[in-house]
Symmetry: C2
Subunit: 439 residues, 2 copies
């Protein structure tokens, strides 16, 4: 092991109403509900007590009765985070919003508003929406193919960032005596005319406290990595092994440098599902208990979903069949395929594994063992921190904060206090200049 990095380990809480394990909500201690505000407020308070950088919400634009319990019904992320902003002081608040099914003006507006409401703690996870079925809820006949979705996303990001710069920080004079509310010379009209969007501006929200809310990217395909290298502050990803993590991080940092950015200004947080017990035996039993709650039909559905192909017709005790490349979730499908081939897994073994954390890494053990697993990746340069995905709430997450975080703090890896006023400051990132109003 090399010396500890000079920057603290970044910790995100990936909040999901019914936990991340598909059967987590069935555990006797689990409380759950994507619309259970009281529970979610308690979880946010726990994350803040653990000095987490941010709370992260995924999103989806469709539902069905057979969806993961966390996704069947849930509060719209921007409404939920605006409410959570009121009960928290330091925790970053990250929501997912689609570049395929939302308008750049609206996205710029709601994240700027959340940034104001929260005193500079907003983060936008820009996703391109993998699922073609989303189009059916938005009066659209077709879902754009993978690479076009990323081309749209590139332009979408530019428009949003341009709109955030509509006002100089000192544009609002608010001078009662003269009656001048805003200085017209300090307002910028974007007049964007591109291939996919034409947006005039200015935005009807003043410049956010962070300048730009934090931008997160979760796509790991080629186009996803290029978008991240150019625009993202954080990347959420899914790697199963240290070597995969190290290779991915090294490669993405190189691309960031090629964009003329400081590689340290992009931080990579793989998802991890920690299953924690007081002893190794207890943790193993808990993991077995969770796996035992899996409904095979639900697990096959979930795996089909992640692979982008219906696998229900294949022999469950045979190997993963050769499937053509899907148009959705390309990088996630590749990770799972690599995993199945590397570990020589049957389809049944693979779906049991995926049901745990949807292809993310599962770490089970004592608090010390979990801390060791995180330390290895972080100190070894395979990540800048982790997006923590508890199998169920609130118990397993409280356990992480109460038992694992202190070990990471004692090792000098995790922070013991918030040091900045905004999420951006806590992440050690500079506030972007406004290119239209240089100082």
């Amino acid at each position: 092991m090399t010396a500890a990095p000079s920057r603290p380990m970044r910790l995100g809480l990936f909040l999901q109403g019914a936990g991340h394990h598909v059967a987590g909500w069935r555990h006797p201690e689990a409380e759950f509900g994507g619309e259970n505000l009281g529970l979610i407020q308690r979880i946010a308070a726990t994350a803040e007590a653990g000095k987490f950088d941010l709370l992260f919400l995924a999103d989806g634009l469709t539902t069905s009765a057979d969806a993961h319990p966390s996704f069947v019904a849930r509060l719209e992320p921007m409404c939920l985070l605006s409410a959570l902003a009121m009960g928290t002081k330091h925790l970053g608040l990250a929501a997912t919003m689609s570049t395929t099914y939302a308008e750049p003006f609206h996205v710029a507006r709601v994240f700027a508003s959340l940034d104001h409401l929260s005193g500079g703690r907003a983060a936008w996870n820009a996703v391109t929406t993998s699922y073609a079925r989303s189009s059916a809820n938005f009066s659209r006949g077709t879902h754009p193919p993978h690479d076009e979705r990323y081309a749209i996303a590139e332009e979408f990001l530019d428009v949003v960032r341009g709109l955030w710069d509509s006002f100089a920080d000192d544009a609002f004079l608010k001078d009662k005596a003269s009656g001048v509310y805003v200085d017209p010379a300090r307002v910028h009209t974007l007049n964007h005319e591109g291939k996919y969007f034409s947006v005039k501006g200015p935005l009807n929200v003043s410049r956010p406290p962070q300048g730009h809310p934090i931008v997160i990217q979760a796509g790991s395909s080629g186009p996803g990595q290029r978008l991240a290298a150019r625009t993202a502050d954080l990347v959420f990803t899914a790697q199963q092994t240290f070597d995969e993590g190290r290779t991915f991080r090294d490669g993405l940092r190189r691309q960031v440098a090629e964009e003329g950015r400081d590689p340290d200004h992009l931080m990579i947080l793989p998802g991890v599902c920690p299953v924690i017990g007081a002893t190794e035996a207890e943790a193993k039993a808990l993991y077995a208990q969770l796996q035992g709650g899996i409904d095979p039909a639900a697990a096959i559905l979930l795996l089909s979903d992640r692979l982008g192909h219906d696998i229900s017709g294949y022999d469950l005790d045979g190997p993963l069949p050769n499937l053509p490349q899907s148009d959705q979730l390309q990088s996630r499908a590749k990770l799972l395929t690599d995993l199945a081939r590397r570990e020589n897994l049957t389809l049944r073994e693979l779906y049991y594994l995926v049901a745990g954390a949807r292809g993310h890494r599962i770490v089970w053990g004592t608090p010390e063992q979990v801390a060791d697993a995180l330390t290895e990746w972080f100190v070894g340069g395979a990540s800048d921190g982790f997006n923590i995905m508890p199998p169920f709430f609130p118990g397993q997450f409280e356990r992480f904060v109460e038992d694992v975080v202190p070990i990471l703090q004692q090792r000098g890896l995790a922070r013991t206090e918030y040091t900045g006023a905004t999420l951006r400051e806590n992440l050690g990132l500079p506030r972007p200049e406004n290119p239209f109003f240089p100082r």
Copy 2:
């Protein structure tokens, strides 16, 4: 005067960051800012102390440096109301959202989410967006004409209400033992295919506590009234005289009955801007002071905006010219034209009047006089209550709550306590049945 109505006077607070009078923010006592959360939270608490039914936010999808100070920059309404839901217990929370520039799936989702977050206090003011310039921020070349906007709105409302009924109230079994989270037989897929929208559903939020959040309509044109008669619970309107108010209310109640609905299930709240002083002389002086702060250029812009025509080239001391019908804000333009003709106003007199409250009724006087003016309309059947539009915040609104509301309460007109758990209950409206899952 006839006997007092058996139902309490409905009171809405029309919240606008810099007050409703165009020069209100310049008053020495005014605090302001559409992004000033602390101020807005105090105002919401005052409204709740005054037992107001709801707090109402207008919205706009464009801005410019010469816009009304309340509109230059403001927090996105759904984010702001989600935050305000956390500090209030009884106050209804109403936001404006466009049927021309939003998606029905998104609108259904955010209002259902706010309803859950607030324990049943959400209200949606469905507007068609008057201003053609909005199209430039949403990658659209054209803005639909007036009557088509209402045709779109009719279908939009049907989709949103259908999506709110996606789940039976008892759909979520959440049974740990069996592993059944939701009963598939209690989930309804809308499969809407119409002229303007195709939306499959179901919505990914469970049925709102109110069944349907309250629906507000603010258009007073023919198509606006038809839409309101069929779908609205509340109507915000602008009338200058008792007779106008009475005629409008009688006519709309007739249309509601023709739709097969109980006329008492639609309540009409004209906007009123109360300018309050301890004495009549003080109120008159305050009104004069506010009018003296008006910038003529801003006032002409505002009047041009409300009329839908640029009037800056006309003789300010001549009469209102004959203008062709505009495509935006038709009913508001007609009210102003009628007012100018009736009172024989010069253009200058008209714009000074409009600058006060954008065409809404201004009442100045002592608390007793303001209470009298409201009582006359309410008891005489010209309204079911009022949307209060203070000229500036927080002073003039505090004055209304501290000095005018108690008079209305002593007269047995305004409520002294909240009686229901939800906004719908406080308004005395029944919770809609779910047509897909009749009891």
